[in-house]
Symmetry: C2
């Protein structure tokens, strides 16, 4: 078990750690006393009809989701809804390699799948809050993977779904991309098979990982338009060092690897014997599939292919040159589009 101040309440803002008990994992392991770190915003109404669930993306926590999405007068308005943001397993806040005690810590942390997250979140939502139906499940990237998984696994529980910049079944290209992220970390001798004593031992690997993210996370146009200057960085070097590496460099490498492994293998059709059509036909939620048009690894065409298999769904692309990482709300035009689609979705009878 390692301590890493990045995941503290001081750094991330308040959250609750809830023990859901032992979680038996799809890959065969067990997370003993699995803890989910969550934060809630707003108030659950009497008939519990205003609950929204928002799972986190790769490297993300409740803090960034609150900052960008959960804002008064926006679609995810805490004055109207009770919004539960659950940090995914491996996020560094919920049970993760770095914060799990011996002997299941670090490299010995078991393999976790998106389906395990959804099972764990289901326990939290039903057992802790007694919520039987969710007004909306919404998330970006790996949050979208969890959103799809929720809608497929618990079709009667999810009234509306809004997967943003993510897919129900991960693509081969995306798998390969994630593999390069993994290898950037594991190739660092300081990683030491997962048995480093501080994330700083793996700083070179984390830097390479951050640079590959820079290439694939934004878009060619993001750089040709020098969007990094608009974000307050004086040069490309400044942006790479102080945004990309500043962001990833403080994280726990094994935690990132845990999430990457899940991300690579996201696939809702695991419960239908690999039949994606059959899996997506299970969805009863009114679903808005929301790809980002300049996304280099969850391209709109992949999202459209899946959307067409979901009965009560629409494709609602988001337009920005900021690529996948537009999810951070870096483009001032981004959140308005998301709000417009989510407001419409939330106003539908579902």
């Amino acid at each position: 078990m390692l301590t890493n101040p990045y995941y503290s309440v001081e750094a991330q803002g308040p959250y609750v750690l809830h023990d859901i008990g032992d979680l038996r994992l799809e890959e065969g392991g067990t997370l003993r006393n699995c803890k989910l770190g969550y934060a809630t915003f707003g108030t659950l109404n009497a008939d519990k009809s205003n609950a929204i669930l928002m799972p986190t993306w790769y490297s993300g926590t409740h803090a960034i989701l609150q900052q960008v999405y959960i804002v008064k007068h926006h679609a995810l308005d805490p004055e109207r809804y009770f919004i539960i943001v659950v940090n995914q397993i491996g996020s560094g806040i919920s049970s993760s390699p770095h914060n799990t005690p011996f002997p299941a810590d670090r490299a010995n942390f078991p393999k976790v799948r998106i389906g395990d997250d959804v099972q764990a979140q289901h326990r939290l939502v039903t057992e802790k809050f007694g919520i039987e139906r969710l007004a909306l499940v919404v998330g970006g990237s790996m949050g979208a993977q969890q959103t799809f998984e929720w809608a497929v696994r618990y079709p009667d529980m999810v009234r509306r779904a809004a997967p943003i910049a993510g897919t129900a079944k991960n693509s081969v290209h995306d798998f390969l991309f994630t593999e390069t992220l993994v290898e950037a970390i594991t190739s660092d001798p300081g990683w030491n098979g997962g048995w480093y004593s501080s994330n700083w031992d793996v700083r070179a690997g984390l830097e390479r990982h951050a640079k590959i993210w820079a290439v694939m996370g934004w878009s060619p146009a993001f750089f040709s338009r020098q969007r990094f200057r608009a974000l307050g960085f004086s040069s490309l070097e400044d942006f790479i060092a102080n945004f990309m590496n500043g962001y990833f460099g403080v994280m726990d490498p094994n935690d990132l690897l845990c999430m990457a492994w899940k991300w690579q293998r996201g696939d809702v059709s695991r419960i239908t014997g690999g039949n994606l059509e059959q899996a997506l036909r299970r969805v009863k939620a009114k679903t808005f599939v929301m790809p980002i048009d300049s996304d280099m690894f969850f391209p709109p065409s992949d999202c459209e292919f899946e959307q067409k298999l979901i009965p009560n769904s629409e494709l609602r692309p988001i337009h920005t040159v900021d690529g996948h990482l537009g999810l951070f709300g870096t483009d001032p035009e981004y959140i308005g589009q998301v709000d417009r689609h989510l407001n419409e979705l939330l106003s539908t009878n579902a």
Copy 2:
């Protein structure tokens, strides 16, 4: 100096090594007795009006260009034209880190720029062959960078130019992408600052380099359509191991790094004080700018931006899902499109 059988005549087919003398480099170094490895196809006619120059791309040699492009009844028909394929400096065939004798070998090989290549090729073309005008300069990727540089530096000598899947000034995004390739190699402890004794010492770095190429070199659709199966590979793993790593794994790491450094800094506006418009206005060649529509790092929009600055030019996009590496002619629809554009270009009065 290292020996590497990959660059031998046995592996690459016949080529001539021509000593152009000392080459003073833009960055300040000198390549003493700089050797250009070239191969010619066809016969130079009496008035020397049928000469075509084709420089190589990153990792490429004359062998692949001959195989894909220089074929009877195709546009680059050796029965009609005298085609000189020049292997770029750092290619492993011309002067390169691995084949240069002490003390300028390996990590001590000087920094070379695209402009140096063009200067060296100009010597070859004029001094060795006595050619004063080129009917066409054509190349893909780094070959396109050299094509642009030729058209800008020697406007009266280049009658026609066909840069395929490359730009006149490298983009920031592309620079970053190339940086991840560089770091994949240099992060391997076996690279040892460039002082390895065999490319096999750097096999892990070369493998990571090959995998990043797989992500950025093809396209998401190439993988979703399982194009690698059509190319004769039984699975993704088979494709990565036996195509991507089979291709790059035998190459010399320092040679790749030499080319990557050049590629990152390709910029025709160096001779006009950074003014790209002014540089491209110098071009007198009839120019067809030919981006590949699914290219992830030389995207059509970047190519179109530059094409509009070239006086006598047209944008001629190539359509394929094979991305940048469509240059290898993997898509049967590819070469027909290239031929059609090149035939039209070659038939114009220029």
